[in-house]
């Protein structure tokens, strides 16, 4: 097997997306407790975002405009909470990488490329982001809707602008997923750099 001969076959290592998704989903399920904690960070961050957007929805449904200063302050608060949520995800994923040193080393011994490891971790985080965002959207919308209705009654719900709602839903979803994936990048890169010899280590 000379170097010239391997040139053509070196691209023949692959990790199909379907398999990668399967492995990532299972990894989440087996570490369910940890996953819940990570996901709840996303849920709370996105819930806050969605609640702010819902109050904006309520305002426009009632024909009122929100004060620009109030909106700016709210935007800042939401941005901060999203950052905190991202930091939490990053921390949780770093812990996960450290604990899974042997698994990662073993995969490398079986022939996994660095990019496969990155792919697995980003998919895991992305999936948690999707689930967390959905839960957060629901939680944020319902809680703010109830809070608003205490003062103004439920009448405004009928006048919600469909296009605005859709826009806010998509936006919240996008923010949740993008932050989850972005926050997982440094841990995923750390995982990819794990040497195959890590599989042989006795302790962390």
């Amino acid at each position: 097997m000379s170097r010239v001969q391997t040139k053509g076959v070196e691209k023949q290592i692959s990790l199909p997306w379907r398999e990668a998704f399967r492995i990532s989903m299972r990894s989440i399920v087996i570490r369910f407790g940890r996953a819940i904690i990570t996901v709840s960070g996303v849920v709370l961050g996105i819930a806050f975002l969605m609640s702010v957007l819902t109050s904006a929805l309520a305002s426009s449904a009632s024909g009122m405009e929100m004060d620009a200063a109030v909106r700016a302050r709210q935007a800042w608060l939401v941005a901060m909470s999203i950052i905190v949520c991202g930091v939490g995800i990053m921390n949780s994923m770093f812990m996960s990488v450290t604990e899974r040193f042997r698994e990662i080393g073993t995969m490398k011994c079986l022939g996994a490329l660095d990019s496969f490891v990155v792919r697995l971790f980003l998919i895991e985080s992305g999936l948690m982001g999707v689930v967390g965002s959905l839960a957060g959207i629901l939680l944020g919308f319902v809680s703010m809707a109830l809070a608003t209705s205490v003062r103004r009654g439920f009448g405004w719900v009928a006048h919600i602008r469909g296009d605005q709602l859709l826009e806010y839903l998509a936006f919240s979803m996008a923010v949740g997923v993008i932050v989850s994936i972005a926050a997982a990048i440094p841990p995923a890169v750390r995982a990819a750099r794990m040497p195959p010899a890590a599989a042989l280590r006795i302790e962390i």
Binding site: S2, Q12, L15, P16, I23, S27, I30, G111, D114, I202
Partner: protein, 254 residues
């Protein structure tokens, strides 16, 4: 290359090391784990690397297995210089040419026995049907045909190691590297695993290289490399090793 004509006396080597040195820098101190190891390993042999802790046994094992690069000297696997290979070529090598067995079994906990065995096949791009057929065949070979869908936590240590052995054969490798395969197993199970490895060696002609303290391994090895303080102390063949194995607690130890 291996396809050249062989005369009666020619021997094929799977792994050759030439004056391999490995140094680790730990703060101000440089530790020489390997101090110039030159070794030739024949195709199809069962080789055991034996030595006390700290002898460089594991480091040598890492070199031979393509898990680490030497500080100086060369390692050739099938006449290919490891130092010339880039990351994806090394990954290809680990996927197709070398199978690994670990002391801690190292099965992926989220996957069943069958999925663990077929994982290297996924990397090698096998189709779903091929993978399932071959996976079942390998698990039956190691005696676990009835435990295809069990997860590692549902299997005993010996069974997990058998799955690991089946996994190491997934892509029909030329070399199987075993790092202390019996280290976490009791005497009886350890003996079963060693017997299984020898069986695979003789029946399939796969070269087995094992780093071990386990004296039971001496009995099945074709050659034994004794390593001490980062150097090869001696290499002996099975015939020249005198072994007297006794009984332990009523059970035959070897």
């Amino acid at each position: 290359m291996a396809v050249a004509t062989k005369d009666a006396g020619a021997v094929e080597y799977t792994v050759r090391t030439r004056d391999v040195v490995k140094e680790y820098v730990m703060g101000k101190v440089t530790v020489r784990a390997l101090n110039g190891v030159t070794l030739d390993i024949y195709r199809g042999e069962y080789l055991s690397i034996m030595g006390p802790s700290g002898s460089g046994k594991s480091t040598l094992f890492n070199m031979i297995g393509g898990l680490d690069k030497p500080s100086s000297g060369s390692v050739f696997i099938d006449e290919t210089d490891m130092a010339q290979l880039d990351a994806s070529e090394l990954a290809w090598l680990r996927c197709r040419k070398i199978g690994y067995i670990f002391q801690t079994f190292n099965l992926i906990p989220v996957m069943t026995a069958l999925e663990n065995v077929t994982l290297p096949m996924i990397f090698a791009g096998a189709t779903s049907d091929e993978m399932l057929d071959r996976g079942k065949e390998l698990l039956e070979l190691v005696g676990l045909g009835d435990r295809l869908h069990h997860k590692p936590m549902e299997l005993s240590g010996g069974q997990q190691q058998r799955v690991a052995i089946a996994r190491s054969l997934a892509n029909d490798p030329a070399i199987v590297l075993a790092d202390e395969p019996t280290g976490n197993l009791d005497l009886k199970t350890g003996k079963e695993i060693i017997t299984l490895l020898k069986q695979l060696n003789t029946e399939r002609g796969v070269t087995i290289i094992s780093a071990t303290h386990d004296l039971k391994m001496l009995d099945v090895s074709d050659r034994i490399v004794w390593i001490r303080d980062g150097q090869v102390e001696r290499v002996e063949s099975r015939e020249s090793v005198k072994l007297a194995v006794g009984e332990v607690e009523g059970e035959e130890a070897g």
